[in-house]
Symmetry: C2
Subunit: 415 residues, 2 copies
């Protein structure tokens, strides 16, 4: 198997877009291709992630139309769907086609339009990622699943729920701080910014001025941070987003001739799980543990070697649990690690320096590719104020559904 | 790259089913696994094709749930969608994961439920396989696309339309004859059977007895064979179907220890095209010509070496055009070849000995896998009355959308 490099990355700003999924993908793809010092005609195959295209835009076979839109209609194009892990699954597959020697240069990425749906409809639509025959009819949605996870976590490790809620809030505060440093993030405000804006607005309008002492008190206020599914409040949840992200992969030999910013794919992992009702312990997701193990083994590294990780913080509790399953902290220690600041940029391990799904946004079919873009930019040292200094090894972690598909990619700097 | 064998195949009967897509897939998968002398736990990864699951059953991430249903939740599972070429794309990808040496034994296949939709809704749903932003609003549907193809073909090669209609009818007659010999085909009646049943029924009921001289006259009668999109009549069109099909692939070394029915994947090809309005000549589909060329080159064979081909006869004209693009007949000679019986079992090349999409049925996400199952069974000499005697090399051809994705697989007998 050959070594595979990432030679170009691109992404749209995440948020609310008037563009189609294909138009957004083309923007990201052309950015990645231009950065690779290539032309579209140099791309040999497209690995394309999208979840809702058939359902929401009425378009099957979108991969083919995406390739045509950037002027390369007659290449093999393959569409992948693994719920929120979609683009990561596409990356792992693209990696294999280059590693095997069959292709030299391929394009991979994902795109999604979700903001067009209002919240109740989007929540119901996303719930198709849970088992639709047995769990769907019971009313399960993702806020509900992750609210149950928070209760289970608090119970299992005997953490008082108000304490855990505070630790979860710290995930949101951190990720909004990181997101403010990322020009492509959906949210460009810290939680403190949001609090101060509320105070200023009340003052301007001559209304009673709120007296929140700090962000934590602001987040405890259910008037500004309503309960979504107890114990999760609004700022524990990532947004619905539009966006696209893309990467150009090349064999190491080809890459050396095209770029002087060496980033290699060191390891990949992927694993599924059955429906939630068949999973033994959702705080220790077996699919994630097995997927990460594959990636670590292939990369020949241990969790402590990872400098930064872009992981699946669809809800704040999801970030905490992920940091444990990936081996960065002991089981039951993840929430305390957040509290102690160990997941900030510059601390033990930088978790979601991009702002994560929470602040950067979560256009589901694009998320895994956007995570990989951030890791690549970090390893190149191109992340400005949110740069993880000296980052040599970075990792992505993407969770589809109720862990029905987990995929990990480990990237490293240098040839 | 290692050689890859097919060591087990399985499929449901195609037609109308009360089962879910996952239940149908499990039936096909277990048949394939049992035939491979393996247990589900021996499967290392699942490559899963499905088109309408999100739209029609409200299930995203179906690959993961499918693996769980046969008792192997914690493996990598990947869902593919390439409109009607879906399962073939999955097979090509599964091939690569084994050929590269990363996996030894994998499961691949597809499943679909389409019969639950009535014809107008199904037609509109399937039309999502055409370009939805520019062509969909113009009212394009697949019967319309292939009706235009028939007109174009007649015009291009100066074949009088009544003549071409007769040649297209001969495709239907042949494929129904083949399908009657396939216990898993949706339709178990020849066109003559259908004609005779009509005559008998009229006679029993004391109604005027029709006086069709033969099948051709029967098919000309728009009372029994109504016009769908001129010049296509009902019996020029494949049905909407439910069904699933699956194959177990293994490295050659592993396969030799498990089976004494040697069938190897000799070559694969895949190519896309942009929307129909960008394609230069739909009678000479560039994506198909390029895809087939890849497969022939990898297999080291020429079209004339192929003993049988399961190809994409979604409409009768589609079969004629496919036989030309794949190189079995000169451009413009395909319709005459049908008339001269050159595509029957036992003639120059057996086209669709299974009955094809036309008579076996077309559960879109399963079709490519069912084609491969038929080719494998033919190469093993296990097809009974529809056996292509001495078949050594067989091929599949699957067309997604308006040729937006084409995929070919070449299989050969022997180690």
């Amino acid at each position: 198997m050959r070594e595979v490099a990432v030679i170009g990355v691109g992404m749209t700003r995440f948020g609310v877009s008037q563009n189609t999924s294909i138009e957004m993908f083309s923007e990201a793809a052309m950015e990645a291709i231009n950065e690779s010092n290539l032309k579209p005609k140099d791309i040999e195959a497209l690995f394309f992630g999208n979840v809702l295209g058939t359902h929401e835009e009425g378009q099957m076979g979108m991969a083919a139309y995406a390739a045509a839109d950037i002027g390369i209609p007659n290449i093999p194009t393959t569409r992948f769907e693994g719920v929120c892990a979609t683009a990561s699954v596409a990356i792992r597959d693209a990696f294999m086609w280059v590693a095997s020697g069959y292709c030299d240069v391929v394009l991979v990425g994902g795109t999604e339009r979700a903001s067009v749906m209002d919240t109740p409809y989007a929540t119901r639509t996303f719930a198709m990622g849970s088992d639709s025959y047995y769990e769907g009819p019971a009313g399960i949605t993702f806020p509900g699943v992750f609210a149950m996870l928070a209760h289970l976590y608090a119970h299992k490790y005997a953490i008082p729920l108000p304490k855990l809620k505070e630790q979860m809030a710290m995930v949101a505060i951190k990720n909004h701080q990181n997101g403010k440093l990322n020009p492509k993030a959906q949210f460009q405000a810290t939680i403190r910014d949001l609090m101060e804006a509320r105070i200023a607005r009340a003052s301007q309008r001559g209304q009673p001025v709120p007296t929140w002492a700090d962000e934590m008190e602001f987040l405890r206020d259910i008037k500004v941070n309503p309960v979504i599914a107890d114990p999760l409040q609004l700022y524990d949840c990532c947004p619905f987003s539009d966006g696209a992200a893309a990467l150009v992969l090349a064999s190491r030999d080809k890459a050396r001739r095209l770029t002087d910013k060496p980033v290699l794919i060191a390891g990949v992992g992927q694993c599924s799980a059955g429906p939630l009702h068949n999973q033994k312990d959702f705080t220790r997701m077996k699919a994630r543990i097995l997927s990460a193990k594959q990636a670590y083994t292939q990369a020949g590294i241990e969790p402590q070697d990872v400098d930064l990780c872009e992981l699946h913080d669809c809800f704040t509790i999801a970030e905490i649990v992920a940091t444990e399953c990936l081996g960065f902290f002991e089981f039951g220690q993840g929430s305390q690690a957040v509290e102690q600041g160990e997941t900030r940029i510059g601390a033990k391990i930088a978790i979601n320096p991009s702002g994560g799904l929470k602040a950067k946004g979560h256009p589901i079919g694009a998320t895994g590719a956007a995570q990989a873009c951030e890791v690549v930019n970090q390893l190149r040292g191109e992340c400005g104020k949110r740069q993880v200094e000296g980052a040599k090894i970075g990792m992505t972690d993407t969770l589809g559904g109720d862990a029905c598909t987990i995929c990990n990619v480990i990237l490293k700097r240098g040839w």
